[in-house]
Each structure stands twice: as C-alpha cells, then as structure tokens.
C-alpha cells in the first residue's frame, strides 16, 4: 500500500499544480490554525482563500474569487473579507457532523458593468464524516446591485481503507455542482481523487465534460 501511495503522491501533487481545480473543505480546520486554500474549476471559477481561526468555531480571513460564465462571456473578479462560524457540531462515536455559516463583504469588478461594486457574500455548509464516508452540501452566494451568483455543491466521498493520522488518506469523491446567474447551465458533475496527510490536502479530477477540477489546502 505504501509503495502504491508513494508513486501516486508526487503525481497527484503535480496534477494539482498543473491543473488547478475547485472543491470544498471545512472553512475552519482547528483552533489557532491557519488555512490556505486554492481551488480551480476550468471555465467556471478560481478561488484563493486564507483564514485564521482563533477558536475552533470561528475563523476570519480574505479571499479572491474569479467567476467565468461558460454560456455567456461574463467575468467577475471579487476580493472579499469573510468570517466563518461553526453553528453546530455533533461529535459522535465514529463520526462528526458540522454546520458552518459565513458572511462577508468585498469589492467586485466585471466585464459587463463599469467600475467597482460592493460584493456581499453569504453561505453555509453541512457535512457528515466518518473515516470511510463523507457527505457535504455547501451553498455560497455572491451578489451586488449588478449580479447574483450562487454556487451549490454536493459531495459524496468514500475512502477505500480506514486511514489513521500518520497514514496517507485516500478518498474517491463524486461532486455535483449547480450555478445560478448564467454561469453554467444544469448540473456539473465531477469525479475527484482526494489525498491528504497531516496538514496537506490535494484534490484533483475531471467533470463529465472533461474539464479539470482541483484544490490544494494547507493547515498549520
């Protein structure tokens, strides 16, 4: 197993760097922790975020989001400050479930309006995780007086083996994503391979239309 993992880990890292992507993770990793995340979805979005969590239930930071429409030639560049809040956590015998909510403000520019606009951001995420199964739903809204874009993401993950802290964790994830505001028509489905070990997380895959998706996250 370790030899198999050893040969795949550098390849997955390279893939994530060369083929940027997009996916979700928890907006608060742990107390006194810093999270840096970058995501990419070909043709639809790119995002970079950095958060610091003084408590396990609160984090704050900044992000940059670029939205692109694959239907109409629309583009948004959004820079925002955001606060994430853990609304509720359930610590179960062999599982954990969470509900997060967030809100923020920023500035946005676009190719179909002049100047800079005030961007309002709000969203929530609900997730349930064991060492073998992961389910999450996230809804993230960005809006201004010139646009309203909401991205809803459902993820279902299965781990082929139960990993421990010092092991490399491997997950196979199916992702369904729905965009509003003329960004993408219909559901976008993707198959992803997620790997993480210690504080590093890498995820990469493709949509059913062959578009690459990926994410990298580091917690420290």
């Amino acid at each position: 197993m370790s030899r198999f993992v050893g040969t795949r880990w550098p390849a997955a890292l390279l893939l994530a760097v060369v083929v940027p992507s997009l996916v979700e993770a928890k907006p608060i990793a742990f107390a006194n922790g810093t999270t840096v995340m970058t995501e990419y979805g070909a043709g639809t979005m790119e995002e970079v975020q950095a958060f610091y969590a003084p408590y396990y239930w609160l984090s704050a930071g900044a992000g940059y989001l670029q939205l692109d429409s694959d239907e109409r030639n629309r583009a948004r560049d959004i820079r925002y400050l955001r606060v994430n809040y853990l609304v509720k956590r359930w610590n179960l015998d062999d599982a954990q479930a969470n509900v997060f909510a967030w809100g923020g403000l920023g500035t946005a520019t676009g190719n179909d309006f002049r100047g800079s606009r005030l961007d309002r951001n709000a969203g929530f995420q609900a997730d349930y995780e064991t060492r073998r199964v992961y389910v999450s739903f996230m809804s993230d809204l960005h809006e201004s007086d010139r646009y309203s874009h909401r991205v809803d993401t459902l993820q279902l993950g299965v781990a082929p083996y139960a990993y421990d802290y010092e092991d490399l964790a491997t997950w196979f994830v199916v992702q369904g994503r729905h965009y509003t505001g003329d960004l993408h028509r219909g559901m976008e489905w993707a198959a992803l391979l997620r790997l993480f070990k210690g504080g590093a997380w890498v995820e990469a895959g493709v949509t059913t239309k062959g578009k690459p998706q990926a994410m990298m996250m580091i917690n420290f």
Binding site: K26, A29, F30, A31, N32, G33, Y55, Y56, W57, L86, R89, W90, N91, L92, D93, D94, A95, Q96, E129, T130, R131, A162, Y163, D164, Y165, A169, F196, K197, G198, G199, N219
Partner: protein
C-alpha cells in the same frame, strides 16, 4: 528484620508504579480526520507540562506524556479538548510510557 524488608520492597513497588504513570489516555468522540488530530496535537502541545502527544483515529484515543515532575489535571485536559472542539468520554492514567502506548496502537485490530 523481615518486616522492614517487606515494607521497603512494597514501598519501592508503589513508588515505581507512580513514577512510571506519566501517560494519560483520553477517549475522544468526533475524532475522524487528520485535521482533527492536528488540531488536538497543537492544543495539547501548548500546555507547558506536555512532553508529547499521540493521536489514534482508529482507537479514538489521545495519549499525552508529561514532562518530569509536572502534571495536568483531568479537568484541564478535558477543557483543552473541549476548547479544540471535541468531546472527551473518559480519562485514565496508565502505567506505560508513550512509546509503549504508540507501539500498542500500531498493533492493528484484526
């Protein structure tokens, strides 16, 4: 003559037992991912009396070894884990070194 010898032997046994009981084990709920373990390690290492920490997701266990001559109360440990976002089910002091606990945890359950 025999009674003082027995007394000394018994005392030495008790003292050595206390001396080796420097590892504290905690059964923790919600321990399912590497980031959980990372956060707990960071929280416990911030306590000055902590020498080292081992986390097992499989056993849902956190083990803490203490620096010589120092102690952490059960309440402080429970508070630290609660502050990290987890639920402590049980705390016990064991007569094993942290390396022994680590070895025991590496023995996978069939």
């Amino acid at each position: 003559m025999r009674i003082p010898t027995l007394f000394l032997g018994f005392s030495a046994l008790i003292l050595s037992s206390f001396a080796s009981a420097t590892t504290i084990e905690l059964d923790v709920n919600g321990l399912v991912c590497a980031f959980c373990a990372q956060g707990i390690q960071k929280k416990l290492h911030a306590i000055p009396a902590t020498a080292d920490v081992v986390v097992s997701l499989e056993k849902k266990l956190v083990a803490v070894s203490l620096r010589d001559g120092q102690d952490i109360s059960d309440d402080d440990l429970r508070h630290a884990l609660t502050d990290a976002g987890y639920t402590v089910k049980d705390i016990r002091h064991v007569d094993e070194s942290l390396d022994d606990v680590r070895q025991r945890l590496k023995t996978k359950t069939p």
